[in-house]
């Protein structure tokens, strides 16, 4: 079993496309992590904000980041399933 895993890792290492895919997976995970932190920060600011105009802008920001995260997660899912197939 360990040999199979090792062989698979070696194959991945020598396959440029696969290497790129793995790099993208890492990058997207990193971006998603940072976006989620940003989203939390925006949500917190929104709950504390009293100015209506700022609140409106923050709400739009929250919606945009949420949509970006959803799109990013879909893309991540695609990258992961690509490997499975």
């Amino acid at each position: 079993m360990n040999k199979i895993k090792l062989l698979s890792k070696l194959q991945s290492f020598f396959d440029a496309d696969e290497r790129k895919r793995l790099q993208s997976v890492d990058e997207i995970k990193d971006v998603l992590g940072k976006l989620k932190t940003k989203l939390e920060h925006s949500k917190k600011s929104y709950s504390l904000c009293t100015n209506e105009a700022f609140k409106k802008a923050l709400l739009l920001e929250i919606d945009v980041i949420t949509a970006q995260i959803e799109k990013g997660e879909r893309y991540l899912q695609e990258l992961v399933t690509k490997n499975d197939t």
């Binding site: 997207i28 971006v31 945009v64 949509a67 970006q68 799109k71």
Partner: protein, 602 residues
């Protein structure tokens, strides 16, 4: 300022004249009606030709004789050279005609204006043309109120002719009646002094009336009434030739450099012709007598002799000047250089850069940045704003409030000067380079070309917007003005955001994703503007027509802004950022953004 003072002085002098004499009133009314007739005639030809003039003009660029004939025939038909001058300037500006060819047409037009004198002297004064004027006017107006464009054109031409006849009639009647009170011929002057003084008087009359054709008709009618001597009328005719260049020069003050050069050629030709006429006046008089004798014009028919003289010295002028058309064009191009607004040239595109893919990409990127700066300049100028204010921390609404008056900015000219040349050079450079390299640089160049295209699209939007911005600026409706101020505010705010981005003052961890927020704000602004417009229409604060214009313009505003953002995403974002490829996959599409904005509660 000078024009306003001139107008005020003219109004004062005319009022004084009207108070002094009823006959003077009839003469001036005649001139006014005649001028109105000329305008109507031009209007008629404009709507009637429907591009025929342009087609003919394109076809005759290869021969000097054809150009001369075109100038003569067109001006004879329209009885004014101004419409033709405008057409020639636009053709020269578009590169369809060179200056030398334009000069040829203007020479012909000059000769064409002399046919008016023949018509008046040969026909207008010999028969009672006011009798023809009335039915012509009736038919003219009847045609004008028809729906067909061609009939309307014909109507304007007929009313033009009717008013020309009526104007001549009033001038003639005025001078005849004037004779009973004042005899101007008592002030006739002979010799060289008389020649110079009356030539100067001819200049003054033409400058005031702003038409050499009308001035000539005035002189002929005065001559027919015996109010001026034949000798003085010759000097006056020479004066009209100089005077008409003043109107051309005044008109060219607001024209571009090509218009100025053409006005310069007009000035040189007319001054030269007039000087020749003054120096060889006695020879011309002899030639006129000889010609009139040849074609059986009576020796005492001074009006026809004046018309002959007018045509003759213009023909001589053309014959003498024709060999110098090309040198004159070259001289004017050298003398009248567009210093202040010279055409902007590319700064970074060197052929040597094509050898090195990365250098070439950077050259195109830098050039696009240069082009963007020019676009910003044009947009701000169109909106009556200044870089020095917009790119500060001041609230944008305050800046817009501060600059309420929109300048009459020539966007087409700015496009030619500051955009077209660089844009074309970039596209040419990319086309030379992009297919020869490996994919990465080729792809980058493709996106940079797209960014340039977005800049061109933005300017197109600004061009559409300008018309209504100007209109709203002159409007009394404060609600409409407020909406257009918001438009100015929105566009300039975006330019400020992009400027911060460009100068890396806004540092974003995810530069591409952060653009989504800007785009979402644009969508929201656009949605808000649409709702505002609906409310304003519903509450009758603006008319439905104003509202629909605003709605169209809000679409232009959105296009301008989204094109600028797309351009900025390509040009100002560091494409070597680690996560840029992943970000590209996560950027929201237009429909996804719309969904977000629509689902976002207000």
């Amino acid at each position: 300022m000078i024009r306003n003072s001139f107008l005020a002085l003219t109004v004062l002098l005319l009022s004084y004249g009207f108070w002094l004499s009823a006959d003077f009133k009839a003469i001036v009314a005649g001139i006014s009606i005649f001028l109105f007739g000329m305008m109507s005639l031009q209007q008629g030809f404009k709507s009637f030709t429907g591009g025929v003039l342009e087609k003919v003009l394109k076809a005759i660029t290869n021969s000097l004789v054809k150009r001369l004939c075109f100038g003569i025939v067109t001006t004879t038909m329209m009885q004014s050279s101004s419409l033709l001058s405008v057409l020639v300037i636009s053709f020269i500006s578009a590169g369809l005609l060179d200056l030398a060819a334009g000069i040829g047409i203007i020479f012909g037009a000059n000769l064409g204006t002399t046919t008016g004198a023949w018509l008046v002297a040969g026909f207008g004064l010999k028969v009672k043309i006011s009798a023809y004027a009335m039915p012509i006017l009736v038919f003219g107006v009847l045609f004008i109120i028809q729906k067909s464009k061609n009939l309307q054109g014909l109507g304007y031409i007929l009313t033009g002719i009717g008013f020309l006849f009526l104007g001549i009639h009033y001038m003639k009647e005025g001078f005849d009646a004037f004779k009973a009170t004042i005899t101007l011929s008592d002030y006739a002057m002979t010799g060289f002094q008389g020649l110079i003084i009356f030539a100067a008087l001819g200049v003054a009359i033409t400058v005031i009336i702003q038409s050499s054709g009308a001035a000539m008709v005035l002189i002929i009618t005065a001559l027919a009434a015996g109010q001026i001597s034949y000798e003085n009328s010759l000097a006056l005719a020479i004066g009209t030739n100089i005077g008409t260049t003043m109107t051309a020069i005044l008109g060219s003050l607001s024209a571009n450099i090509k218009g100025k050069r053409l006005a310069g050629a007009h000035l040189v030709f007319n001054l030269f012709t007039s000087i020749v006429a003054i120096i060889f006046l006695s020879q011309f008089v002899w030639a006129v007598d000889w010609f009139c004798d040849l074609v059986n014009i009576a020796a005492d028919d001074y009006t026809l002799k004046l018309a002959t003289f007018h045509t003759l010295f213009n023909v001589v002028g053309i014959v003498l000047m024709l060999p110098f058309v090309n040198p004159l064009a070259r001289l004017l191009e050298r003398l009248l250089v567009d210093k202040a607004g010279a055409v902007d040239k590319p700064n970074f595109l060197e052929d040597s850069a094509l050898e090195y893919p990365d250098t070439a990409v950077e050259a195109v990127r830098s050039e696009t940045e240069h082009l963007y700066d020019n676009v910003v300049h044009i947009i701000l100028k169109t909106m009556g704003l200044h870089r020095r204010d917009v790119f500060t921390d001041q609230p944008m609404s305050g800046i817009v409030e501060q600059y309420q008056k929109l300048p009459d900015y020539d966007l087409d000219d700015a496009y030619q000067r500051n955009f077209k040349g660089i844009y074309s050079a970039i596209i040419h450079f990319i086309s030379q380079a992009r297919f020869t390299w490996e994919m990465e640089q080729s792809g980058r160049l493709y996106w940079l070309r797209e960014a340039n295209l977005k800049l061109a699209e933005s300017l197109k939007g600004v061009k559409h917007l300008q018309k209504n911005l100007q209109k709203s600026n002159a409007s009394q409706n404060t609600y409409l003005k407020q909406e257009y101020d918001n438009v100015r505010c929105q566009i300039s705010s975006l330019l400020r955001e992009i400027e911060l981005f460009k100068n890396e003052k806004t540092v974003s961890e995810f530069p591409l994703l952060s653009q989504d927020m800007l785009k979402a704000q644009l969508k929201e602004q656009n949605q808000q503007m649409m709702e505002n417009i609906e409310v304003l229409i519903r509450e009758n604060k603006i008319s439905a027509e104003m509202g629909t214009s605003l709605m169209n313009d809000s679409a232009y505003v959105y296009d301008i802004q989204s094109n600028l953002i797309s351009m900025a995403a390509t040009v100002f974002i560091n494409q070597s950022t680690v996560s840029i490829d992943v970000e590209r996959e996560m950027v929201l599409s237009d429909s996804e953004l719309s969904e977000v904005v629509e689902s976002s509660p207000e």
